[in-house]
Amino acid sequence: MEQFKAKNKENEKNKRALVNEMKVKMPAVSENESTARSVVNAFVAHYDPTVEELADIRCAVSEAVTNCVVHAYGGRGGVLYIGVKAYSDRSVKIEIRDKGRGIEDVKKAMEPLFTTDKSGERSGIGFAVMQSFSDSVKVRSVPGKGTCVTLIKKLASEE
């Protein structure tokens, strides 16, 4: 049964075709938080998303990029890589990757209200926002090597 499920999943996966792709590289500085939102917004806008879907994506991207700027590189700058893919089933995959310090305990970092900030100026809900505003969030991280956050958003059917 498990084998059948896995194969079915694979078939489902193969049914969708990649229709467009974008790769962007930029310095991981706070000025680029809005730049990152804007470029992803411009790419996704081609696929006729609703205003709400586009706003969800902007917010989730902003959280992931801010994590790179603040946590991965500790505000010292580095390189931020953004990859966006649009598929024929109207799903959009966004990868936000850095080569920063990585996350020791991803599960803990993703707990709502978890923050390493002591100033009271960070809310600790960055991952919770990504999860709330995306259909799927995956985080892969290797301490000392970097982190990749993959966001999937399924756009509603065009009517």
Binding site: S119, E121, S123, I125, A128
Partner: protein
């Protein structure tokens, strides 16, 4: 948004601060300084953060609100939010912060 626009008005013991544009981690820095400066010079009884003119806010914006709540509480000032969009309310709810602030609707 290095030069975040912000409108500050005082009405008796009530200080209203209305930022414009986007609140993210980058813009939050200058907004924080300007709101705190207005707060500490006016020392009002009530600080109203009017979010009616905010086009975008993420969890850094929530951090800004929570930080102002903390600073204002330290000087005995109540913080109220005004003009919250549905999206802002959703972010507040994710952190349970909707119970912290009194939310006013715009007159």
């Amino acid at each position: 948004m290095a030069n975040s626009r912000i409108v500050v008005t005082t009405d008796g013991a009530r200080l209203t601060v209305a930022p414009r544009g986007e609140i993210d981690h980058h813009s939050a820095r200058s907004l924080r300084e300007r709101i705190d400066s207005a707060l500490y010079s006016a020392r009002p009884e009530v600080l109203v953060l009017d979010l009616s003119h905010i086009d975008f806010m993420d969890s850094s914006g929530l951090g800004l609100l929570l930080g102002r709540y903390q600073r204002a509480s330290e000087i005995g000032c109540e913080v109220r939010l005004m003009g919250c969009s549905a999206r802002t309310k959703r972010i507040l709810e994710l952190a349970g912060a909707d119970k912290l602030f009194k939310i006013e609707e715009r007159a």
